[in-house]
């Protein structure tokens, strides 16, 4: 548990970066600090491991006043992941990861063995161990950064915009893996981002800070979207918060219709085979691949991948209302495709049916 108790950072020129911050980051959970630039989120994070010393107030790490320990000892108990990873360019990946165990006086063989374990754990090929950071991509470096922070198995991790310097596809991948890792490890995490979507996706609780370093609201993501306390928070969480809030509501037992399908490689279907001019194409395993307009002209041709309309997203059975509604809205046929855990076709729903479900709940 990390607890800010009236923590303030005031610079000699009078600027207040963090103003009387009091909040608690519960053990085993992800607390996200989010806000516009100048809101003091990074300053707050760095006050925890005393890279920045608070002017007044106290920060507690469980029952310990962080000011009571020598700074370097405090820091060795706290994992830290920084934007752009901040790896040591002159050390191999395995030695980068082994840094903190070595600082703590563990022997080299043991520290490296532990580092190898973590390299695999964060999804990197063990062959990378002997390479240097500059030989890795940005996303791979960031994984190494996470492995390095975890190496001494600290109960607490601080993460300062760790995923913001990589491209969106890699970012999403890293976020998913981070959540999976946290599911296994249950660390107490404080995570800083300027991206409200990332905050809502990753946070067990989200602290929105306003410029000048004041806490505006601390809430679970769904509550934040549903009940922003004031205009600032409402503005910050964004316009499409109604839609995004659907991401926190399970679709439950939504009834699906049977959806006719044609296998890729089979004969081109005529009008009678689909519904309203569209038929779903699936692969040999029954996994949806895309939509096909039915038509008499091509009847008898072979269906190929190149003919498919792939615009529609797929919603997992038991997923969120947002995913189901998006599947409907993005589908060229207007019918959202629902699949099971292994990606096979379950059936389809229409946007109207999803909206009815939302209204009934509302």
């Amino acid at each position: 548990m990390i607890r800010f108790d009236g923590a303030t950072k005031r610079y000699p020129d009078g600027t207040v970066a963090v103003d009387e911050l009091s909040l608690e980051a519960p053990s085993g959970q992800i607390t996200v600090l989010v806000g516009p630039s100048g809101c003091g989120k990074t300053t707050s994070l760095r006050m925890i491991n005393r890279m920045i010393e608070p002017t007044s107030g106290t920060i507690w790490l469980d029952d310990t006043d962080t000011a009571s320990l020598p700074a370097h000892e405090l820091r060795r108990q706290i994992g830290y992941v920084i934007q752009n990873a901040g790896l040591f360019p002159h050390r191999t990946i395995v030695d980068n990861v082994a840094t903190v165990p070595l600082l703590l006086g563990e022997d080299k063989t043991k520290a490296r063995a532990r580092a190898m374990e973590l390299i695999e754990r964060v999804g990197l090929d063990p062959a990378f161990a002997k390479r240097y950071p500059a030989q890795l991509s940005g996303g791979q470096q960031q994984r190494v950064g996470v492995a390095r922070a975890l190496a001494a198995d600290p109960p607490v991790m601080l993460m300062d915009e760790p995923f913001s310097a990589v491209d969106p596809v890699v970012r999403e991948q890293l976020q998913e893996e981070f959540l999976r890792l946290q599911n296994d490890l249950g660390k107490t995490i404080v995570f800083v981002t300027h991206d409200i979507d990332e905050a809502i996706k990753l946070g067990d609780q989200v602290a929105v800070l306003r410029v000048g370093g004041k806490l505006a609201q601390l809430a679970a993501p769904a509550d934040l979207l549903a009940r922003p306390v004031d205009a600032f928070v409402a503005g910050f969480v964004g316009r499409d918060r109604g839609y995004r809030a659907l991401g926190f509501t399970g679709a439950g037992t939504i009834d699906t219709h049977q959806e006719p399908s044609v296998a890729v490689g089979a004969a081109y279907p005529g009008h009678g085979a689909g519904i309203d001019g569209w038929i779903l194409a699936v692969d040999a395993d029954g996994k949806p691949q895309g939509w096909l307009p039915t038509g008499e002209e091509q009847r008898g041709d072979v269906v190929t991948d190149a003919m498919l309309y792939r615009g529609g997203t797929l919603a997992a059975q038991g997923g969120s209302l947002r995913a189901v509604l998006d599947a409907c809205l993005s589908s060229p046929s207007g019918r959202g495709v629902v699949v099971d855990d292994s990606g096979r076709l379950v059936g389809s729903v229409t946007a109207r049916e999803v909206l009815d479900l939302i209204e009934k709940r509302g």
Partner: protein
């Protein structure tokens, strides 16, 4: 016959013969020249490390420090060679005046190099090192300095080669090193030009500079395997 031999031995290409004729003396001067070139660079580096660190750590110290070191470097070497013994109360012909003067030059050159090398270490890397629990001294020697090595060795190469050239100047005021060869060439050219010692001096200085430069380069390579790995990606 005598004229022929004379003209052959005064040809610039006779320098190797001249070397063989005075081998013991010339090798002695080469040795003097070598340590006079190398020791001041080592001293300069040892002084420049803390000074360069200070210039980086306290940003207000950087501009004046760079001005002072720049000024020191512009003092003509011959003036320092002559002034150092009375200023420090040394014997007028002590060989120490050369290494002292050159240490001043090397330090001046290397303070900027060290400061800029440390400045080129990525901020995230320094912050990460702090956050992982390095204490300042360990962070300097195990993170910042190793990463600054390429910049520092580039400066060392300049310093060591410059020293080879400046040491020769001290030969002309009678201090033992390869510069004495130029002095000899000048003395022997009173009636007509006599080139061999001058050419020999140039050749030995250039070879010495090349060898010392190569040694610094090898040290650089040994200290920075990480840079080669990146290039061969």
């Amino acid at each position: 016959m005598l004229t022929l031999l004379d003209s052959a031995s005064s040809s610039p290409w006779y320098f190797f013969g001249y070397f063989l004729d005075h081998r013991a003396t010339d090798l002695g001067w080469l040795w003097d020249h070598t340590w006079l070139s190398v020791v001041p660079v080592v001293v300069g580096l040892l002084l420049a490390l803390p000074l360069g660190w200070l210039a980086r750590r306290y940003s207000w110290a950087y501009p004046p420090m760079m001005s002072i070191t720049g000024l020191l470097y512009t003092i003509p070497s011959i003036a320092l060679f002559v002034l150092i013994p009375p200023l420090l109360g040394l014997d007028p012909l002590t060989p120490l005046q050369v290494p002292i003067a050159l240490s001043i030059y090397s330090t001046s050159l290397l303070v900027r190099v060290v400061a800029d090398g440390l400045g080129a270490v990525p901020t995230e890397t320094v912050q990460a090192a702090t956050a992982l629990g390095y204490r300042p001294l360990a962070r300097f020697f195990r993170v910042e300095l190793p990463i600054a090595v390429p910049v520092i060795t580039a400066g060392l190469r300049v310093a060591v080669v410059a020293n080879v050239s400046i040491v020769a100047v001290a030969g002309t005021i009678g201090l033992d090193n390869l510069g004495r060869l130029f002095d000899q060439g000048y003395t022997l050219s009173v009636t007509e030009p006599y080139y061999p010692p001058i050419v020999l001096g140039i050749v030995m200085c250039v070879l010495l500079a090349l060898v010392l430069d190569a040694i610094v380069l090898l040290v650089d390579r040994a200290l920075t395997p990480w840079r080669r790995a990146v290039r061969s990606r």
